[in-house]
């Protein structure tokens, strides 16, 4: 199965490649910023692309490290809570893919939107939720992002349209958000994420076609983690060059384990879309450490060695840490301090997520329709039919003093 990996990370045929772990860095004389070289991008129908020489400042270095660590720790906590049976149903973890979300978020500007599939905890955090809100959503508590009504796959923030459970449905939805941006003459983009599995849905083709026809500011982003559930990309995709599969839509292959490459690719892509040239199709070559979901140990279709090898050689957090420390941008102690903070933050979040209350039964009937008269809701039997006691969860929360 290592072939899957090498395929995912195959460098461009005619480009010089600097492996992430041996990346060069130069401290700039005038500032405290440091120059790094990232792995070459592969381009599809583009004459030029993002720079391989990127600059990082100290503040961002600390911020990126913290965010990636928060996601890693939060997902570990979620995995543990699941094993303790405190999280029910679905739970898809993002561990291993942190550089993708944190790197993309770093390039976003006010008003940009994101929509993704079910592996959404990290994005929900980056778009404004606290770790408590996310873990408490997973445990179905009131402190949750949607107070326990959505669970693992359905969390929302301003400009974050979920958390979508039907693989591929988010592709036209994201194009629709971008449609609204164009309609309003907004200079924004909608990052529309999907996995290598969803890359084979017909909806991607449909959405790509209209996005190109109408010049929508949408960036389709395939997070290629090598597997759609347990099916390696070669067994699912006739072409595994996902960045080229928009055909007439230009594409970029990005080392999704390198946050700096991701940030630069997104920064460049945003500029491209802002100039009215969108859409684009990006492929982030990445890896997930856990199984597809918590019910998948993730070892029947790949070896433990493969996972260990990625952890050792390409881990997005370890790799980043080495670079920023070696370059002198931050100190090891500063990062240790962050680790300590993050551990504490997640521990506290777990505490709330496991002790907070759950919505009262009346919430079952809330949020059926927006701005509509009170409805009669049929219960399991005619005798349990009720007039909505509260029309919205907000009203429920107010009634119990939680808002």
């Amino acid at each position: 199965m290592l072939s899957v990996l090498s395929k995912g990370f195959k460098p461009a045929a005619n480009s010089t490649v600097a492996a992430a772990t041996t990346v060069t860095s130069t401290r700039l004389a005038s500032t405290n910023d440091v120059n790094f070289t990232v792995q070459s991008y592969k381009l599809h129908k583009l004459d030029n692309g993002p720079k391989t020489s990127v600059t990082l400042n100290r503040t961002d270095a600390l911020d990126f490290y913290r965010k990636m660590q928060v996601i890693r720790r939060m997902e570990s906590a979620a995995g543990n809570l699941y094993k303790e049976k405190k999280i029910r149903g679905f739970c898809h973890l993002y561990s291993g893919q942190e550089a993708c979300a944190v790197g993309m978020k770093a390039a976003m500007t006010e008003g940009d939107a994101v929509i993704t599939a079910y592996r959404c905890h990290g994005w929900t955090y980056l778009l404004g939720s606290t770790t408590t809100q996310i873990l408490a959503e997973l445990t179905g508590r009131i402190a949750g992002n949607v107070y326990g009504k959505g669970g693992s796959m359905h969390m929302y923030e301003k400009n974050f349209y979920g958390g979508n459970g039907i693989v591929g449905a988010q592709q036209p939805l994201g194009a629709g958000v971008a449609f609204a941006m164009k309609y309003r003459n907004q200079k924004n983009v909608c990052l529309t994420l999907y996995g290598d599995g969803a890359a084979n849905q017909g909806q991607l083709f449909e959405a790509t076609n209209m996005a190109k026809l109408w010049g929508l500011p949408v960036i389709f982003i395939c997070e290629n983690n090598g597997f759609g559930m347990g099916t390696p990309i070669e067994r699912a995709s006739a072409s595994t060059d996902y960045y080229t599969r928009g055909d007439y839509v230009p594409g970029i292959w990005v080392d999704g384990m390198d946050i700096l490459a991701v940030r630069e690719a997104l920064r460049w892509s945003k500029e491209y879309c802002d100039a009215g040239k969108g859409p684009l199709m990006l492929e982030m070559a990445t890896y997930r450490y856990h199984g597809h979901s918590m019910s998948d140990p993730g070892t029947s279709y790949r070896t433990r060695d493969e996972i260990q090898n990625v952890r050792k050689t390409r881990d997005p957090i370890t790799g980043f840490k080495d670079r920023v420390v070696t370059s002198g941008l931050v100190t090891e102690d500063e990062l240790k301090e962050i680790d300590k903070d993050v551990r504490k933050e997640v521990e506290e979040a777990v505490k709330i997520a496991t002790t907070d209350g759950v919505l009262p039964p009346e919430a079952l009937y809330a949020d059926i329709y927006a701005n509509t008269a009170t409805q009669e809701i049929r219960g399991a039997t005619i005798d349990e039919t009720v007039k909505q006691p509260f029309k919205t969860t907000t009203e429920v929360l107010k009634s119990i003093g939680r808002l």
Partner: protein, 357 residues
């Protein structure tokens, strides 16, 4: 197949006070097609967030000419032709609604909406609930629905029960021109996903059209049934084209002294059960009429609700259903006619309920 020439050329009626009408010798009339066109025109003008999207809605003037003239009037930014890609454009429309616009998403016919039903059910209908009210989805999915003429099984069916099954959707089924206009305007102004089921056969039919209905402010409430004809012997509950058979049947029944109360549902979700219940407690007899399939259909739901309610004690006979025949629609004319309910079925069923030989 896109059977675009089947129906729209058949009736050429326009809103006019001069035109001879099947229903009115004098007075103002309007076809369903023109009533819908008016509603779209007015709402697109009224709210910059409203736009129309669908196959052939712009330059072709609409496959069934419902959007005739709108592109010329409102331009590319408001009237969007899409490729033939239902799941894609339905998803784009839903995404645009999440982001605050008010799309009117036309399916050339609801037969094609099955390609997009995941976006309607899983994305549009549920997101408000799943997000605990954080994300709204103000969208109208509209287009012709119901049995058409001579187009065989894939293009001739009623999807009312499919959509009415799902909580979170509003399902609107207008019959006449005033309802078409007033309810479409209400649907576009509604903050929820609305499935608006027009009847393909009725598009060209002229109906009485009051001065009030001509106004830009004419809006009918979603979720309210309308007692179309007051009676005391039997309650006929129906919607959309079922109204045609039911009203004709009521007329015929009146000639033998039976006064049927005809309830036009207008909306299937939210469902106005109170109006039905009240009527049954007066007439003690119930017949439901629909053109869709019987199994798990609208009539089945109505009767189940009646049986579970206090109205059951008022029934003097079992409630009966008049429905489409439980088969896919055949092509040839004789068999097609045999697959659909008629006025005669309604008359016969009412007589059965009332024990009239």
């Amino acid at each position: 197949m896109r059977p675009v020439s089947v129906i729209f050329g058949r009736f050429l009626g326009r809103c006019s006070s001069l035109q001879a009408s099947r229903q009115l010798a004098t007075g103002s009339t309007c076809t369903i097609r023109d009533a819908l066109n008016q509603a779209l025109d007015e709402e697109i003008r009224r709210d910059p967030n409203v736009f129309l999207m669908g196959e052939e809605v712009a330059q072709y003037d609409g496959a069934y000419k419902v959007s005739k003239g709108l592109w010329k009037k409102h331009g590319d930014s408001r009237i969007w032709d899409t490729p033939i890609t239902e799941m894609g454009f339905a998803g784009i429309a839903v995404g645009a609604a999440f982001a605050g616009l008010r799309p009117v998403c036309e399916f050339m016919t609801f037969n094609f909406s099955m390609q997009a039903i995941d976006q309607i059910i899983n994305s549009a209908a549920k997101t408000y609930y799943m997000s605990a009210g954080k994300v709204t989805c103000p969208i109208v999915f509209r287009g012709p629905n119901g049995a058409a003429a001579g187009v065989a099984a894939q293009h001739s069916q009623d999807f009312s029960a499919w959509f009415a099954h799902c909580p979170g959707l509003k399902v609107v089924t207008p019959y006449n021109a005033e309802e078409a206009k007033g309810l479409l305007k209400a649907s576009i102004r509604d903050d929820n996903p609305v499935v608006f089921l027009e009847n393909e056969i009725l598009y060209g039919q002229p109906f009485p059209f009051s001065d009030e209905a001509k106004s830009e402010d004419f809006v009918l409430p979603i979720g309210k049934a309308h007692v179309e004809r007051v009676g005391k012997h039997v309650t006929i509950v129906t919607y959309s084209r079922g109204m045609e058979f039911s009203l004709e049947a009521a007329k015929e029944l009146a000639s033998i002294g039976v006064e049927a109360e005809v309830i036009n549902l207008r909306t299937l979700r939210p469902f106005d059960f109170e109006t039905i219940k009240k009527s049954i407690m007066k007439t003690n007899h119930l017949v439901t009429v629909e053109t869709g399939w019987p199994f798990a259909g609208i009539g089945a739901e109505i009767i189940a609700q009646v049986i579970e309610s206090e109205a059951f004690d008022y029934l003097d006979a079992p409630p009966y259903r008049v429905t489409g025949v439980d088969v896919p629609m055949p092509y040839t004319q004789t068999l097609e006619a045999a697959a659909l309910p008629t006025t005669a079925h309604v008359v016969k069923t009412v007589k059965k309920s009332l024990h009239i030989q």
